[in-house]
Symmetry: C2
Subunit: 336 residues, 2 copies
DNA sequence: CTGAAAGCGCTTACAG
DNA sequence: CTGAAAGCGCTTACAG
């Protein structure tokens, strides 16, 4: 089990009877004669030679590493994104360096710099968190994926979250709900601001159209299961609880469904619940959540692609992609 | 956005008026005078200097990278493990390099070698998959975490899976079930073999004790949601379907619950379902799965610790930890 | 305690 | 097409 010394390009070169730089050339696609290439590749295959990434990124212009900043990996939302990103990156021969909430923002920033990432995809940017700005301040290309930051001119991709909120509102209002609550996402997250705005717009529009008043309570769920669970339990303990809930993401909607079950409140008979995201879990028969789908994997994919295009053309103007959302009616909502 | 040239230790040294090797020493804890240390750290702080990991791992004995091999990140089982591992590693100043099923085993092996990982934790080893053996063949320390491989003398940590299967059997038999099915995990996975063995032992023991025959059907679920879902739908379409199901992991139990719902089979009235793992999801009111808990985070933590101890003492005899499991009764099971 | 030097394993001009 | 050489940014003996 002593660390067997790794084979290096020098040894490959020696055994193939060529210069070390020639080995490098055949591996990186320089001009090499067929015969030389064949001879080198034979030795490469014999030892299953793998060039050192450390050496490569030390000398080269690129590390081949892309930073991906998420929050909590155990939130079912993120694995879907990470997987989609990994697929694209792996297809391009790139590696993903994950930064999660296991570390502080400062630690994450330091790591990304030490690793020499070629660029960073942020999936969880919030308005007052300067991490993305600081990374970019170090000259590292940044893209905002699924979240957006005001006054930060970088490549961004997001869903049409205002419409998402609007669709949720329209659905619940059409069902006749007039006493509703919104379980809000993280303060400072663009998605929370936009979904909230869309929902409120929908409510106001309905009021204007019907002349009927709609009661709308807003509580903070912080995009977090536990926070949302407690908030909904409190809501449901009220003397006049809402008849419908818009949760700004699916995870909080799961919390709402479970909190309702714990409180003995029947969904959808006594309480309608609408989520937002359409994470795969939402389609489970045991959950079957009415929600607004955002094209999660597509967002992840576009995010990575924007970064790759940025690396290819650093001076192109920043792009901002907005992807459409879609209402998904299932069984957690019913007429008031 | 031009890549601002990164500050190096040479520049820090120059500005602090010391040799580059002195900068290295203050950063790595060599002997340096207080005054020199102070002066260097001041410049380090001024530029927020981050030493290049590439250079460090090229010259040093360690890369500070630990490979972690999992299967599908979107299986709720793995994020829990990865997070627990990341916590331990980050506490030690180490980074995690994730290998998932987005790539082939060969590609994963190649990557791990190129990156020069100091060691690898396997969470999804299967008997006929030589990946772990091959990694180890390159002199890289390996630990098996949550799965075990026969005749492979490396550090291993697993739950007491035989007892897990036995507990599931005892519970269902006590409830009076005599027509059962087992949804089996991945062929070649030690957990599947052990849990299956424990369950069968329990059934045979009950038959011997009571003199009553117990019908036990076994179907393949491959530890996969979709595979298990289809298998359970087929089972339930039978003229004489089982009254109880033991699913060798929680994810397959979710599939069973959902398949039952889709088939209009009431759980637990018409069908009892027991899982295995106790992933956080299982405690949700909407799921509320009777299962056997294995100490997931603890397994992950011990796995990483075994590896770290191995790195500290390469010649210590291999260790094999077996962690206790615990029956968790919830509402997906009822008397036959 | 401190500095000068070697060297890790590559890529990339530069010659030929 | 091919080789010799420089150099990426560090750590680690080796002197003093």
């Amino acid at each position: 089990m002593a660390r067997r010394p790794t084979v290096t390009s020098v040894q490959i070169a020696r055994e193939a009877g060529v210069a070390q730089s020639t080995v490098s050339r055949v591996l990186n696609g320089g001009s090499v004669s067929d015969e030389t290439r064949r001879r080198v590749l034979e030795v490469v295959a014999k030892y299953d030679f793998q060039p050192s990434q450390a050496a490569r990124s030390l000398v080269g212009a690129r590390s081949g590493l892309i930073g991906v900043v998420i929050r909590d990996l155990t939130n079912p939302f993120y694995p879907v994104m990470v997987k989609a990103m990994e697929r694209v990156l792996h297809g391009q021969g790139l590696r993903l360096s994950l930064v999660t909430d296991v570390m502080t923002a400062d630690e994450g920033l330091a790591l990304l710099r030490r690793e020499g990432v070629d660029g960073v995809v942020f999936t969880s940017a919030v308005q007052d968190e300067p991490l993305a700005h600081r990374i970019r301040g170090h000259g590292i290309p940044v893209v905002l994926c699924h979240r957006t930051l005001e006054g930060f001119p970088v490549d961004q991709v997001e869903a049409d979250n205002v419409t998402a909120g609007r669709l949720a509102a329209d659905h619940l209002l059409e069902l006749g709900h007039r006493r509703m609550a919104m379980v809000c996402g993280l303060a400072g997250a663009s998605t929370a601001e936009q979904r909230g705005r869309g929902f409120r717009e929908g409510v106001r529009a309905a009021e204007a159209r019907t002349g009927e008043a709609v009661a709308l309570t807003e509580v903070d769920g912080a995009y977090d299961y536990g926070t949302a669970y407690d908030a909904v339990r409190t809501l449901l303990a009220d003397t006049e609880p809402p008849t419908a809930l818009f949760c700004q993401n699916d995870v909080m909607a799961y919390a709402a469904l479970n909190a309702a079950a714990a409180a003995g409140v029947s969904v959808p008979r006594e309480l309608s619940v609408v989520g937002c995201d359409d994470v795969p879990l939402s389609a489970w028969e045991r959950i079957d959540l009415t929600t607004v789908r955002q094209p999660l994997e597509r967002i992840a994919q576009v995010g990575v692609e924007l970064l790759l295009e940025r690396l290819a053309d650093p001076d192109a103007p920043p792009r901002h992609e907005v992807l459409p959302v879609e209402f998904v009616g299932r069984t957690t909502t019913a007429p008031a």
